[in-house]
Amino acid sequence: MNKLEEICSRFYVKHASSLRGGGEEKENTQNSENLDYSGLYSKFCKYKDKVLRDTSLENEFNLYVEPLVHSHHSLTKSKHEVFELDFDIRTKFLGPHDDVELKVLLLTGAVGIGKSLFCRRLQREILFGWEGPPYMNEGQWFAIYIPLS
């Protein structure tokens, strides 16, 4: 068990009941949930570890140049400023003060423009910043990459 996994497990056994509150009967129920959570967190930690250790895209990342985007109004199709995509997504879509109503970000680009590589890199960066339960707040996301093709 690595350090992060250890923290995850410890946290739930030790602190969950105080965080969730409730009477004795409720506390027992919460404890059984805590065990599940502990198992889940261990899986999250392992996944994070696997993604961060993956070296299959090392060559591509060595040549990586941050993609730029224009902010784009879906109705007027008017273009505004140019941003670094990563910064734009982290501040406007996933930022700590982001709009909770924002659910979908559509990322388009020509064939070979680097959509997949960007996504893989974004996932790594998000997971790198994911520290597990003791520091979990609304600004922390757990990114799961799903290749559909």
């Binding site: 969730r20 599940d36 959570y37 889940l40 999250f44 392992k46 996944y47 299959s56 060559n59 060595n62 040549l63 990586y64 140049v65 993609p67 730029l68 985007v69 224009h70 784009h72 879906s74 109705l75 140019v82 995509l85 734009d88 997504i89 406007k92 879509f93 996933l94 709009d99 109503e101 924002l102 659910k103 979908v104 970000l105 559509l106 990322l107 388009t108 680009g109 020509a110 064939v111 070979g112 423009i113 680097g114 959509k115 997949s116 996504c119 974004l122 996932q123 998000i126 979990m136 609304e138 922390q140 996301w141 757990f142 990114a143 799961i144 990459y145 799903i146 290749p147 559909l148 093709s149």
Partner: protein, 407 residues
Amino acid sequence: MAEAIAETLERELSMTKEEIKMLNNRDPNERLLPQFVFILDGYDEHLQDIRIELLNDKTDYMKNNFYAINKLGEHWINAKFIVTCREENLCYVKRKDLLFAPLDEKFEDDSNELPTAASRSFLQRRIEPFSDEQIDCYLKKYSFVNPGANLNPEMKSWSCIERLNKMIDFYQVREYARVPLLLWIIANVLPGLPLEKDKGTVQSTALNKRFFIEAFINQMIKAVLKQNSALNEATTHDETQAGEEEQILRKIKDQLQHLALRLSNYVRSNSVTQTQDKKMLLGLDPLVCWDENFSEIRFRHLLFQEFFVARSMTEEINELTNSNLDEKSNLPEDLLLNQKLLNHGASSYSIACFLRDAVRDGKIKAHQLLSLIQLSKQTDRSNTSRKNRGKGRVYDKSRRARSTSNR
């Protein structure tokens, strides 16, 4: 999509069905579980099932809405979704927000008006092609990562970038160089080509994407062959052995072509069944890789797969029009060009572009295409597919019912 998410959670995170169910039914205010952002890369294949040109009214959008049909609001209420798509596959969609964002619930009434996306629920971003500065930055990294690769090893890094930039302009490929994947291919191929300054007789010729990918693939295969000790010896010997190398090159390309057709769901009934030389193919690392999720060899980038599909089509057109001009009844039913509509679908645009380049490069002559249309005009008019080919269209058998009504 919900299935794809569940499968990934099971496969990548070893989650049980119960755990996934628990995450689906979580209390939205639960702060002890992480907030998920799902990055769904390559939604293009799913767009194949949507008749984008007919997305006009409320029902069309509601029936095909990404968020609604996948019940994401029910199962993953706190999650966010980043969905990637090729630009060209969405260029005919007038209201991308209505195709992807959660729809405003109040529009689920009987009015005929278009629905609206839930307020502030949707963002759209388009990755811009590289600027000249980004191209320079990329080339700088490239020359650092590949010191002296195909360039003069004595040349300083900045001189290499300058020379590559000159060649990009000389061969009129700056627009291609704005696409990172193509820039990588160009940076690999260009140093092997002559520059005006080196040879006064060399004319500036506009090179196309097909040329670069073909040259890059040849270069990759030859590099692998060189590593093979037996063939290393061959290169130092006589012409027979050089011919042998050509033969092996051809064999490897055939295997890659076969792989591309299979992965793209094209069927070639008359082809000789080939045994896939996995070890050899996996040696072509920048081209193909082992996909653990599907437990099979796949192309590292879909563009290579599409290149080989177009290459197979080009070869087939050449074979057919060169040999069967007088045997009109022999036009095979499973003609590759005839298996899928090339005006619709994830890979259609790229394949069509490669075919266009093949015509421009003279790999297919215009008269051969006309012959193909002439050949397809013949025979039984009751046969739907042939009737459609007679109109010069490619036809997708798997979409026969739908396409027929559409036409």
